[in-house]
């Protein structure tokens, strides 16, 4: 187990380096002029352009730019954004916010999704099953910006149950609750369906029948045997979803004015802010890798046949 983890962590190094290079090269390859939007509707003055290009090494070839970036990175310097704010400071401020939001969303989707999946899986065809089927269908088919805006309008602005937007740089759980519900709502649908399908399949399998005929209670046979096996794909999905929520909450972050990573990357890409994109995306890559490692380790817990030795 220990060596497995160490090996996996060592494997991350080339992945991270490769990812930074790819992202760097892609930002570098974007067409257009990085200063064209900096001065409003008119072109920037030549003096401004020259100073800007020099400051960000934009006149150098790709390998030189990348080399400089990695050298600074090794020194712990993530560079500055195009509007002159240290990327590291921004990440420090934004990562906890997005992390908190994504964690809350994952908790909500896991709690509700697994519960709904188990209940409907055990009593399939019943009223609850149909209810969950229809409501998840509705959730899946509504785009998140519709859910977000409606929730903000009715639950925030009209009823006043939740804050309309996030107003602090270190938002409380209550401030993030509505966005987290919105963010998790789509995944709730996926988790519950995934859970249900897998459970239904496993309930029909031989080992469950054996367990029951052996005299185990239904609760024990389902809970201990079928559920554990059915959780494997669900855990895989949740692990992937956590990473996706971190970087992909752009829409929700925008609606609720949450100072998170998603909006930051989005804005950075639009203004070709290479240092910000690479910094933030590298962080996301690391999160993905770590979460995937955790998921792999969880497999072993859920199904002892999967060994990491």
């Amino acid at each position: 187990m220990g060596t497995y983890i160490i090996r996996r962590i060592l494997q991350m190094i080339p992945v991270i380096l490769g990812a930074t290079f790819l992202i760097f090269a892609m930002v570098f390859a974007l067409p257009g002029d990085p200063v064209a939007g900096k001065c409003g509707e008119r072109p920037c003055s030549p003096a401004y352009r020259a100073a800007y290009i020099q400051k960000y090494n934009l006149d150098k070839p790709l390998p030189v730019q990348y080399g400089k970036y990695v050298l600074n990175l090794a020194k712990g310097d993530l560079g500055t954004t195009s509007n002159n704010i240290p990327v590291a400071d921004q990440l420090k401020l934004r990562v906890p916010v997005t992390g908190k939001l994504a964690l809350m969303a994952v908790l909500i989707e896991t709690g509700i999704g697994i519960l709904a999946g188990v209940l409907t899986g055990i009593r399939r065809g019943g009223f609850l099953d149909n209810l969950v089927l229809v409501s998840t269908l509705v959730l899946i088919s509504i785009p998140i910006f519709v859910i977000g805006n409606l929730a903000q309008l009715y639950l925030g602005t009209r009823l006043g149950w939740f804050p309309v937007t996030v107003t602090s740089s270190n938002p409380s759980v209550y401030q993030l609750l509505l966005p987290a519900i919105v963010l998790g709502s789509l995944s709730v649908a996926y988790v519950s369906r995934l859970m249900r399908t897998n459970l239904v399949e496993n309930l029909r399998s031989d080992y469950v029948r054996t367990a029951i005929s052996k005299g185990l209670t239904k609760r024990r046979a389902y809970g201990l045997h079928a559920l554990r096996n059915s959780l494997i794909p669900v855990v895989t999905f949740i692990g992937f979803d956590f990473g996706a929520l971190l970087g992909g909450a752009v829409v929700t972050e925008g609606i609720f004015n949450i100072p998170g990573i998603g909006g930051y990357v989005f804005r950075a890409i639009r203004v070709r802010d290479g240092a910000s994109v690479v910094g933030a995306v590298t962080f996301l890559v690391i999160v993905y890798l770590v979460v995937n490692l955790l998921v792999d380790l969880l497999y072993g817990l859920l199904d002892p046949r999967i060994s990491h030795e």
Binding site: K38, G40, E41, P43, A47, A50, Q90, V164, T165, F256
Partner: protein
Amino acid sequence: MRGTARTVAVAAMSAVALLAAGCGSGDSGGDDTSAAGGKTGGEITVRGCNPENPLVPSNTTETCGGNVIDAIFSKLVHYDAETAKPTNDLAESIDTTDNQNFTVKLKQGRKFHDGTEIKAKNFVDAWNYAAYGPNGQSSGYFMEPIEGFGDTQCTGEGDDPCAGAGKAKADKLTGLKVVDDYTFTIKTSEKVSNLPVRLGYSAFSPLPDVFFTDPKAFGDKPVGSGPYKLDAWNKEQSIVLSKFADYSGDFGGKVDKITFKIYQQSDAAYNDVIANNLDITDEIPTSALIDEKYKQDLPDRNAEKETGVIQTVTFAPTKVDPNYADPKIRHAISMAIDRDTIVKQIFNGTRQPATGWVSPVVDGYKADQCGEWCKYDPAKAKALLQEAGGFKGDKITLSYNADAAHKDWTEATCNSIKQALGVDCVATGVVDFATFRTQIGERKMKGMFRTGWQMDYPSIENFLAPIFKTGASSNDGDYSNPEFDKLLGEAAAEQDAAAANSKYQQAEALLATDMPAIPMWYGKTTMGWSDKVTGVKITAFGTIDFTSVAVK
């Protein structure tokens, strides 16, 4: 970008609206304005966005930073909030006898936020710094009229024009001289009749001595000269201003504290205003403009005003795309555009159909300069096209930057042209503003493309010279008309403002004949506010007038 009205601007103008202008801070005079009363003191929050550059007046030409800079810096002149008319602020007088040699006398006793007095050298040093090429200031070109500007620019080629032999010859403008602590002179290289009008733009702000010791630190926490001082800039979150206790000018504000809360989306800001979490938003989202929903959401708490913004459609230079060279074809296209309907359908009336190339908010504006060419007349348009021998290319194209809300109106415009002329017209999106401007700048864009302009200073000249003068910096269509240039030169030499304006109007009339760009509409700003504030007014620049706003 800004919203509604500003949406207009935004939308209309592009991602980063320009702005230079912004001089927003004020209204005609201090405390007399309180239309709706309101007490002195208290704090307000207003919608803000991320400044693109450090907060140095000479390096800020976009609205996000410009709105803040305007509130914390006083200039020589102050533009009236209602009429945009300039009145002396830091200046006691600005005199000239020949439109080329100006003597500026300062009021004594005005102070920077660090307590030092504002003296003549603070202006001269700041302007020299702005002009000097290696400093790379984005609004350095505002100093262009001043004698000696050419020598302060780097002349090298390539990405680093300041390297080697290209290095600027001088780091000071020869046209600026300090006479004594409160007097300095400006000599321009050519006659400029409206120089005093220009001096209210933030690029002409004075800078305290502390700026020159550490420009970088200054950009984070500027020491200004205005009625408000900057307390904190929490990057990407908020910018906090508070009243400057030693402010002795005439354009102070009523509230004690102003917080710019930075929003990523205008919808979020708008919803916060409705919920009373935010006091003023200067941008109403499109969703609230439909059927004027904002007027129900915020009854008696909204305002709308025309601003110095114009949207135009420019024809590619003739050498790039000869198909549009004939003015008859240009006139035909212009007459084929149903501006009224598009403004109503697409913009919910948040634009004003244009009748010329100059915004109605500026001094010297003359209505209907475009005449019949800007009136929708499909029959006449078609006849004109036939007279010109039809359209030679296979289709008319209208390009726009697809990263802002231009798709709807460009397509509507194209449909209007297509129906009236029977020639296919396609609205072509270019991935983003940067790419769009690059293609235009490199003269690779064919057909027609959208262009916008937001004034830097409220003068008719600002809508003509920078855009249509031969070789001007924003002359995207390479328009060149010797007679037009000559009229501009004559206007600049006029001593009398009315006589100068009349020359500028004659020049503008030439644009109707040549049609280098089609006027589309003027921008409007729409604002909404919470029920905690009163006296909210919109300046001619589309910004909040901080002299009149007060807490109830």
